[in-house]
Amino acid sequence: MSALEQRPIVIAPSSGWRPIDLREVWEYRELLAIFVWRDIKVRYRQTLLGVVWVVAQPLLTALIFTVLFNRMAKIDAGNVPYSLFIMVGLVPWSFFSAGVSASGNSLIGSSHLISKVYFPRVIVPAASVLSGFVDMVVTVALVVVMTLVYRVGLGPQILFLPLAIAVAAVFAFGVGLWLSALNVEYRDVRVVIPFLLQLWMYATPVVYPLHVVPERYRWIAAINPMTGIVETFRAAMLGGAVPWSALGYSVAVTLMVLVSGAYYFRRMERLFADVL
């Protein structure tokens, strides 16, 4: 028996702002893994088309946006085919948006578990973000195929891809911590999430390139941490300079949201079982 297990478990009222007990989360890593595995397995088993759907969905979305913005609104993406440009924007955005949406609703969705078993609650939103990785990897592979088809050469800058994905994942988790904890107390957060994400997408250069944004609206893109993430992802896939200052800003905001979210989550955690 390890020394850790010899220590008695002390049950007492907690109060105030406490950090997340990382050692305890580590103890429960197998449960985190199994939640991720369950989410993925169930998602692909329930849908008849499975992986086909994962591929078809972004392709159809990209097609619609291409028709809307490129053919009808005549927005140009410069030297990259517009459909590819959109796809490359949609991959990190969809990953982020699915992560926020799933983790934001995760505690409510797991209320049955939370009222019956103890485990560090933070692994519920964490698992929701992590289970989005499979979809993301599939769509990245799709984009790689598209770059080959369009002969937009993949360069060494692809090495920055994991960085962009990591920041997107952590940011989604941070936002998810806030939203999931808020969602327990205020049920209308559930209704707000899709609306928030939709607005946020249009405030992010996903379906339009940054250079078409009029000067007086540039500040929106500048304060939006998703700008740096999406632009870095694009630079990594399509070639081009990594926007270091924008990415640095994204990382800073991500860390702030993550830490504050973790404390807020922890503060609300003790109420979850009583409220759910």
Binding site: I11, R38, Y186, A273
Partner: protein, 423 residues
């Protein structure tokens, strides 16, 4: 003896505001309260689900916890399982603790039996390697054989429950907290689980076991605690505690009333108002075995259009269901009830029950499709007593009489032939 659990002055407070218990709010409520003057917010009542609970448990002890509904048993288990925090007080658990407040927690219908074993095991706190090691044993225990790789949504309900139990039964933490999980499943499988738990107890593990099944408490647990109104009112050898429970007002409550909308058992359609045991017209918890007993259910139909059927479940002190009865009053049968207050009374004839305590659970349901609107377990109870007057089914016999019911049956005799003719 080594300590396993120490609880010191545990207390738990719940807030009851308006209608819902400690419920979620909407943003509008919170924003609204910003603009409302202080004190204008609806008064929030506090309820102490648990107060000043202290006890110690030694390693290897198996302890039963009994008490009527709402006494605080579940709150105590939830605190010791770390699902909810105490409002004040402290508890220490020495050793790995696992809790079974339900079987099959987290089971996913789309996943196979094997996958659910791993998922459920992990949720209960078992390591992957540990589950893998016990897999064969669990499968054998569950008797699911070739269905191991079939999604559990295709399982019969019996198989589903057996699998859930099998995983739970193999949770071998040093401290095990069990809540009433044996209330489902078929009888022979229940027996098997009880035996498995007894084994677990013999291996020096500490078990806290909450149950309504008093017989299983006395059989499994040398020691028991009686919880009432958030306090431990009795702690000692389980047969003594069970006897105390049965002979106190806690075990036999002839009338329950819920004047307050906030605490009355209710859903959108039905609200339970009162349940009473009457014999000879008066509300009583002592019933003469010869006299009829009326169980009176006072309830409200909150929404029209439902053919609502009050029904009663009679259980004896061993937890055995003596019978179930539903309201078949021809005047109301199949008819939608208009919103309003109703009193439905079941008339049980005299000379029907055995001596002992009968516990009545009350439900109001819709039958087609089946929907249980309210269900109050152990709502009322009463003692059936034989006054040894000679005119009961007991006759002139003074000893113990086994049996779930004790009808006074008409007997007939015929003298076929006088004695001298048989020679």
């Amino acid at each position: 003896m080594t300590r396993a659990i120490e609880a010191e002055h545990l207390a738990k407070k719940y807030l009851i505001g308006g209608v819902k218990e400690m419920s979620y709010r909407t943003l509008r409520d919170s924003l609204g309260s910003l603009f409302r003057r202080r004190g204008g917010a609806p008064a929030r009542e506090t309820i102490w689900a648990l107060r000043d609970v202290s006890f110690t448990v030694d390693r290897g002890e198996v302890i039963g916890i009994i008490g009527r509904n709402g006494a605080g048993k579940s709150t105590l288990l939830k605190i010791l399982s770390r699902i909810t925090e105490p409002t004040s007080g402290l508890a220490r658990l020495y050793g790995r603790a696992g809790s079974l407040l339900e079987v099959g927690t987290g089971f996913h219908p789309e996943l196979t039996g094997r996958e659910n074993i791993f998922l459920n095991g992990a949720i209960l706190g078992m390591r992957r390697a540990e589950i893998a090691r016990k897999l064969d044993e669990i499968v054998a225990f569950a008797e699911i054989g070739q269905f191991l790789d079939t999604p559990v949504k295709r399982y019969s309900s019996g198989m589903y429950v057996r699998l859930a139990f099998a995983v739970a039964a193999h949770l071998d933490t040093e401290i095990l907290i069990v809540d009433e999980v044996l209330a489902v499943g078929d009888v022979s499988f229940q027996r098997k689980c009880l035996n498995k738990m007894e084994d677990v107890g013999r291996h020096g593990r500490t078990i806290l076991y909450v149950s309504h099944n008093l017989a299983s408490i006395t059989r499994l647990c040398p020691r028991a605690m009686l919880v009432d109104a958030g306090r431990i009112v009795h702690d000692g050898p389980s047969h003594e505690v069970v006897r105390h429970y049965l002979h106190s007002d806690l075990g036999t409550t002839a009338a329950r009333e819920w004047p307050d909308n906030a605490t009355a058992p209710a859903d959108d359609v039905v609200r339970l108002r009162a349940v009473r045991v009457r014999s000879g017209g008066a509300v009583t918890s002592k019933v003469d075995i010869r006299r009829p007993v009326d169980i009176e259910v006072e309830w409200e139909a909150l929404e029209g259009g439902h053919p609502l059927v009050p029904n009663l479940h009679f259980q004896n002190e061993e937890g055995l269901v003596v019978f179930v009865t539903a309201d078949l009053d021809p005047e109301w049968r199949g008819r939608a009830r208009a919103p309003g207050r109703y009193v439905s009374t079941a008339h049980v004839p005299g000379n029907y029950f055995s001596e002992g305590t009968l516990v009545v659970s009350v439900a109001v349901s819709t039958m087609d499709p089946v929907r249980v609107h309210v269900y109050e377990r152990d709502a009322v109870a009463f003692d059936v007593v034989d006054v040894l007057s000679g005119d009961t089914a007991r006759g002139d016999y003074g000893g113990q009489i086994p049996g779930v019911v004790r009808p006074l049956l008409p007997w007939t005799n015929q003298l076929l032939a006088p004695a001298e003719m048989t020679r």
